[in-house]
């Protein structure tokens, strides 16, 4: 599992790779926390390399989504979500509010 944060002008891009189960969900929450502590609330999550995303990882994502959108200060947008993971997001009703883009360029451009 790797988490890499890239700082761009418009937003931060957090690139995720590998398995995100309960053992690494705290590291994911920490990555979001670091961006927010730096005052960056516009975040793109590049999910192209994610193989597995458990409910604990989804909780970390939703907590960050809630916090970034508070007082209209930002948003968390997803890029390149693998089909099987998008299916799980749909089941949990997440796709009705979290914005998904086909790739990182589109997602960054949306801010």
């Amino acid at each position: 599992m790797t988490i890499e944060t890239k700082e761009l002008k418009r937003c931060n891009v957090i690139k995720l790779e590998g398995r995100f189960d309960s053992s690494v969900a705290p590291a994911l929450a920490e990555a979001f926390r670091e961006s927010m502590d730096d005052g960056v609330y516009r975040i793109v999550v590049d999910m192209s390399g994610v193989q597995f995303f458990s409910s604990a990882a989804i909780r970390a994502l939703l907590m960050a989504y809630k916090e970034c959108r508070r007082w209209n200060r930002g948003d968390v947008r997803l890029a390149a979500v693998p089909e099987h993971i998008a299916g799980v997001f749909d089941l949990a009703g997440i796709l009705s509010f979290v914005e998904i883009y086909p790739d990182t360029t589109f997602a960054v451009g949306s801010f």
């Binding site: 398995r19 189960d21 309960s22 458990s54 409910s55 909780r59 907590m63 949990a92 009703g93």
Partner: protein
Amino acid sequence: MPPFELCVNSDLSQLARISEFVSLSARRAGVAEADVYDIQMATDEACTNSIEHAYDGDTGEVRICCWVENKDFVVRVTDFGKRFDPDKVPVPDTKAPLESRDIGGLGLFFMRELTDGIEFHSDGEKGNQVILRKRISRAE
């Protein structure tokens, strides 16, 4: 397919190994690739529950056993700790806007939604068991 069994310590670092074991067993049983992820996820959630809640922070054993029964691929997750009561877990309202939504309860929700059947058994000697079933639908 003979039953396959994996015994691990109740440590979250074992989840990757459990996923690999269950995926391999499911593929060997002829489960369609699209369903392998569902089984992997449901099993991961069941094992996370056992690891996080059964032993109150102490180390215990978690057993994962897979077999084929009729046309179902079956996964049984067993621990020997505290009994898990699924009725006490709130059911998430997946239609509610996020602001008014309680983010908990998703693990059990996925276990139910991603399988074709789920059972919970608690028996002193046999331990606490979660049995997950997924119909094997082979590609035509």
